[in-house]
Amino acid sequence: MERKFIEYDFGRVDSERMRLNVGPQHPSTHGVLRLEIELEGEIVTDVIPHIGYLHRCFEKYCEQMQYPQVIPYIDRLDYIASMNNEWPFVMGVEKMMNIQVPERVEYIRVIFAELNRIANHQIAVATFGMDAGAFTPFLYLFRDREMILNLFEHTSGARLLYNYFWVGGLAHDVPPNFKDTALNIIKTVRATNEEVMRLLMGNKIFVERTVKVGILPADVAINFACSGPVLRGSGVEWDLRKAQPYSIYDRFDFNVCVGSNEIGVIGDSWNRNIVRMNEMEQSCRIIEQAIAQMPNEGDVREKFPKKVRPPKGEIYCSAENPKGELGFYLVADGGNKPFRLKSRPTSFVNLAVLPEICKGYMVADLILILGSIDIVLGEVDR
């Protein structure tokens, strides 16, 4: 504790500051993040995030593993959106090895990636609501997420960490009633989203809690290299799916959701969340189109290479994850193990902006700002 003078609008205040440790065990740090905060009464004056409580040495580990064995470890990066994680790596290896995956595989990948995006945003909104004290929307969203996970389990065999996108194809073909199930999921997701909009996002208390809280201006967001809903919430229309279309995303009609100042201010917590809600709707649209266009016949495993040995070279391949841009920089030396695998973790980059935007707010706001950035510690610490 130290004594400081603080300049306020109403004059100089002499007060004692309190240092408080939030985490690593705290109900709402989304894992094991530790925030060292300096409090002036209830007002946060300084935030120092301490990371490394979940450091699993992912990048070095991958140098020990053969290419197919890397995929289970990539799953454990951002464990909420495993399908999306696998994609940039698999895409990069395919590009190096010059494999053209079949149409059907591309469509299935798009559908699963978008379903996982919905699941991720459901968790993000749900935990954000729980940080604000609303427990019920959390359960409604998790109830729907269970349907998505069920479809994933029926397809890949696992509920959370799928190991499903393989170099050159997919591990398993989709179950026979896949299309109906997916359409059914979309219907339920839309119904629940509408309900959550009324129960949580439209609630006056929640709106008061989130608008004008943690305002992230667009230039700061760009300077900190934020991506995903955090960047789009600040009004920057940047989505890798539109900006640098990879896979077959140029075939679909969807909008890039950005924050507006309809209810809040551009770049506040409310906008970051409403972007997530809207993106769920856009994902539903993409899935509908993909299901309509998807070829029915085709072997998902026909393009599997016998041995995954990319030629000597290097590549950076990135994709639009639910949380933002996830990229892998891969150096291959011609062997069956990566020489170097460097990831550009979304959450880590997004978390860097936290100390910038939460000074001067209250403790309760700090929790909400952290929730609105939607980090996953597996990706932050790697």
Binding site: P24, Q25, H26, P27, G31, V32, G52, Y53, L54, H55, R56, C57, K60, Y61, Q64, P72, Y73, R76, Y79, I80, I123, F138, L139, F142, R143, R145, E146, L149, R159, L160, L161, L377, G378
Partner: protein
């Protein structure tokens, strides 16, 4: 046939009354497990799914408590790094007796995927705190986790409260005899 066995020696401290009291106390402990709401890694997400409507952990009387003082058991849900292990020991020590530990998933059981080269990962949470139930899986299915809870409750139900030392000695004797 616990009841009948106790009838044999009603004057012993393990007589009917104390036996029944012990059953009641164990029943209370087993049926009202409050857990520390605390997540580490991937398993924590699956653990949240266990809490959600489809599986509903509250059916077993498990209610989340944010403070370790009020929690009865702690779920080690994910990879425990060396840095985090110290904190987990502190958390465990902060909990009030009787306390239990449930190790969820491969990482907590024995380091999981990181057991071989992981200089940074604790190879099994049982190296620092005593574990009651190990739930395998990476991450475990919610049903598998619920099975772990059932097993934990079964274990609590058979605990000795009175004459603990004598019973422990007896158990040890059995182990020695084996």
């Amino acid at each position: 046939m616990g009841f009948l066995n106790r009838l044999d020696d009603p004057f012993n401290a393990e007589g009917i009354i104390l036996g029944k009291v012990e059953d009641l106390l164990n029943w209370g402990r087993a049926r009202s497990d409050w857990y520390l709401s605390f997540g580490l890694a991937c398993c924590a997400i699956e653990f949240m799914a266990v809490n959600a409507s489809h599986f509903d952990l509250m059916r077993f009387g498990c209610i989340p408590r944010p403070s370790p003082r009020q929690a009865d058991f702690i779920i080690i849900s994910g990879t425990v790094t060396m840095k985090m292990a110290e904190r987990i020991i502190t958390l465990y020590e902060q909990m009030a007796e009787p306390k239990y530990v449930l190790s969820m998933g491969s990482c907590a059981n024995s380091g999981g995927p990181y057991w071989e080269h992981g200089y940074h990962v604790l190879k099994g949470i049982d190296r620092v705190i005593p574990v009651d139930v190990y739930v395998p899986g990476c991450p475990p299915k919610p049903e598998a986790f619920l099975d772990g809870i059932v097993k934990l409750q079964k274990k609590i139900n058979q605990q000795a409260i009175f004459k603990k030392r004598a019973k422990l000695a007896e158990e040890e004797k059995i182990i020695v005899n084996d």
